[in-house]
């Protein structure tokens, strides 16, 4: 599955985690672009994604991802898509 397709799957998840109806997830999106995206909500985001895809992130992945594009690439790899 393409990064773009994963981004559109992630959109409702992000909207829930950050309580932001208008949020649209793009590969370029970073924490700096979202008001509510702090270290706590980041953990909530990780938990939501792990639960949604049935995958788990390593501590390096949790700490090191720089934007949603990298996140989507990890999801694609872990879900073999």
């Amino acid at each position: 599955m393409s990064v773009t397709a994963i981004c559109s799957e992630l959109t409702p998840l992000f909207q829930d985690v950050f309580d932001e109806d208008d949020l649209v997830v793009t590969p370029e999106l970073t924490a700096a672009d979202v008001d509510e995206w702090d270290s706590l909500s980041h953990i909530r985001l990780v938990v939501a994604i792990e639960g949604h895809y049935g995958i788990s992130f390593s501590s390096a992945e949790m700490a090191g991802l720089r934007n949603v594009g990298e996140l989507a690439a990890v999801i694609a790899r872990k879900t073999n898509r």
Binding site: D19, D21, I43, R44, V47, A48, E50, G51, S59, A63
Partner: protein, 619 residues
């Protein structure tokens, strides 16, 4: 078998438009506790808890959480618990409370406990939860760590006065060092945690401190899943963050038990709940019950659990769409039935809607519908009851009846922080009460009814034996409670020796049984006036003139101490409208107001007690 404890499977799924509903509630000006509690009664995940937790926090700030009961809590831990706060707010709302939370900054436990000017000590909350992780509490390393751990616990307890300290057991680490030897070699972390937990349980029992049993909860989830090394190393999260909603619910149910919102009655549907099949169609021989089929065994297991609950004071009732005679038939004649009619306080088998029948059950038992848990295999009935009576807890049941017990038990609706002889007898007492109500219907003349009860009332000052029950009543009573002042067991103990305080514990027995302690009074001397600081009574004994006899006793004790008048006070709490006219009915005259409170006075020179239907005993 699909049962994942972490997903709170005993709760229905949250609405898909949760965020929109939260926003709508945020925008409401007035009290919105009911709407928030209804959303909380769903299986919210971590994100859902965060959203609803935000709304709960706003409502607490706006003082708009009625009818939820207010409760303040400080959480102390050496690990990161920030993610747990919203799940605690949600878990507490699910159990009837609006909690205002404080969590000191990371690593501030010592300062909070040892510095008398810390917020926790200078402005103590209702409860302090000390949530321990073995790494945060120093149970790994060298030396006598367990002894040191206990020393810190004792310090914490000594430092925290005027609040309830909630202790938690420690979840053992999953990784073995030796393997099988770990529990026998005393310096392994597992052995230390085990010894620490044992000592902690002893102290909790000795101190009367409520206990959050993390060790058991972690074991239920599985230790490998409970401990998430990635999150520990990154953020010092002491457990996997996805488990926060589960732990938050366990904190919420414990706070509920402390503040008296635990439920009292288990109401059972019959067909396909208490037995397999439909008694009206399948007949006594056709229903599945007992050995011979897995289903039959599963339904017996639910009955057994219901009886165990009854043994610890939970009242049982039946609510079923059935002809009364059909519904009762297995109770009377099926050899595999564990439940018998004598165990059921109220039996409602008819064709009316279940919401009306549940309301009738609550009325017959003189409890609110928020004291009921209703177990029904039929998803449609569950949904209807949730819609019409959202205060009733209605567990989701798995497809397989083998899991019914687990679903009912996991909801935590009957959580308790103490257990005494009174609790043991409670189910029988409520049942006897329902019988008394029936008798009252037969005896038209109230005086004749009272006389026929052959009531014996016993008065005693507070003492060590009565103390746990006195503290329990003071902590829990809401409806018949004139001032709703909450005192800890220690404060109660202090009153026993105070010459300026008049205390009464009141017990009532009648020909149907012993009601146990049903009323508590605290009076304080103010010159030659006795100010009634606290007067509460169990609603089970309403309508039996107990309050008149109690007044006669208060008056006598005040006179014996040379006092000339009584002063009463009604402080509205939102839940004690029942007693707004209490003092007026007893012949007190209005004596002004004090803030929200109304004041009342009774001149002892002119007070003369009426003839009352009691044999009075004193000790």
């Amino acid at each position: 078998m699909s049962w994942d404890l972490a997903a709170l499977p005993w709760l229905p799924a949250p609405p898909s438009d949760l965020r929109a509903r939260c926003k709508a509630l945020d925008a409401e000006g007035g009290a919105r506790g009911s709407g928030l509690a209804a959303l909380a009664a769903t299986s919210l995940d971590l994100s859902g808890c965060a959203r609803l937790g935000k709304s709960l926090g706003k409502a607490v700030e706006a003082d708009a959480t009625a009818p939820l009961k207010a409760c303040s809590l400080t959480v102390l831990s050496n690990a990161t618990l920030d993610l747990l706060l919203d799940p605690i707010r949600v878990g507490a709302a699910r159990h009837g409370l609006a909690v205002s939370l404080r969590k000191p900054a990371f690593g501030q436990v010592e300062q909070e406990l040892l510095d008398p000017s810390s917020a926790t000590r200078s402005d103590p909350p209702d409860a302090v939860l000390l949530l321990l992780d073995h790494r945060g509490w120093g149970l790994q390393g060298a030396g006598d760590l367990i002894g040191a751990g206990f020393q810190r616990l004792e310090q914490a307890r000594a430092a925290l006065t005027g609040t309830t300290l909630i202790l938690s057991t420690v979840a053992p680490p999953p990784e073995p060092l030796f393997g099988g030897l770990d529990v026998t070699v005393s310096e392994t972390v597992r052995a230390r945690v085990r010894a620490f937990n044992e000592g902690l349980r002893d102290r909790a029992a000795r101190w009367g401190a409520p206990l959050l049993d993390l060790e058991h909860l972690a074991a239920r989830v599985g230790l490998d899943r409970w401990h998430d090394p990635a999150h520990w190393t990154l953020h010092k999260l002491p457990f996997a963050p996805a488990l926060s909603p589960l732990l938050g619910d366990h904190v919420g149910r414990l706070l509920g038990a402390l503040r008296g919102t635990s439920r009292k009655v288990l109401v059972l549907d019959l067909d396909n709940t208490c037995w397999g099949g439909v008694i009206g169609d399948d007949g006594l021989e056709g229903i599945e019950l007992g050995p011979g089929s897995g289903r039959g065994e599963a339904h017996v297991a639910l009955q057994r659990y219901a009886l165990e609950l009854r043994g610890r004071g939970v009242v049982l009732a039946v609510c079923s769409k059935n002809d009364d005679a059909n519904g009762r038939l297995p109770f009377r004649e099926h050899p595999e039935m564990l439940l018998r009619e004598e165990h059921i306080a109220v039996f409602q088998a008819n064709w009316r809607d279940k919401a009306s029948n549940l309301a009738a059950i609550a009325r017959a038992l003189n409890v609110g519908v928020d004291a009921l848990v209703f177990v029904d295999d039929n998803p449609a009935e569950r949904a209807i009851v949730r819609e019409h009576l959202p205060q009733v807890a209605v567990p989701e049941l798995p497809e397989d009846p083998a899991l019914y017990v687990r679903a009912v038990a996991s909801g935590g609706w009957f959580e308790a922080v103490s257990f005494n002889e009174n609790d043991r007898q409670r189910a029988a007492q409520y049942q006897a009460n329902a019988q008394r109500a029936e008798l009252a219907e037969q005896v038209a003349d109230m005086d004749a009814f009272h006389a026929s009860l052959q009531m014996v009332i016993r008065f005693a000052p507070f003492d060590a034996i009565g103390r746990p029950r006195i503290a329990q009543l003071i902590g829990r009573s809401n409806q018949f409670n004139l001032t709703t002042r909450r005192y800890s067991a220690e404060q109660v103990a202090a009153m026993e020796a105070d010459p300026d305080v008049v205390t009464l514990q009141v017990r009532l027995a009648d020909r149907f049984g012993d009601n146990g302690m049903i009323s508590v009074v605290i009076g304080r001397r103010d010159g030659d006036v006795l100010e009634i600081d606290t007067w509460l009574m169990s609603c089970r004994v309403l309508g039996r003139r107990v309050e008149e006899q109690v007044l006669a006793e208060i008056a006598e004790q005040a006179r014996a101490r040379g006092m000339t008048a009584l002063r009463g006070r009604w402080i509205p709490s939102g839940r004690n409208g029942l007693v707004e006219e209490h003092y007026a009915k007893l012949g007190f005259v209005p004596a002004g107001t004090d803030g929200d409170a109304t004041l009342w006075a009774l001149d002892l020179a002119t007070y003369d007690p009426p003839d009352l239907p009691f044999t009075v005993e004193r000790s």
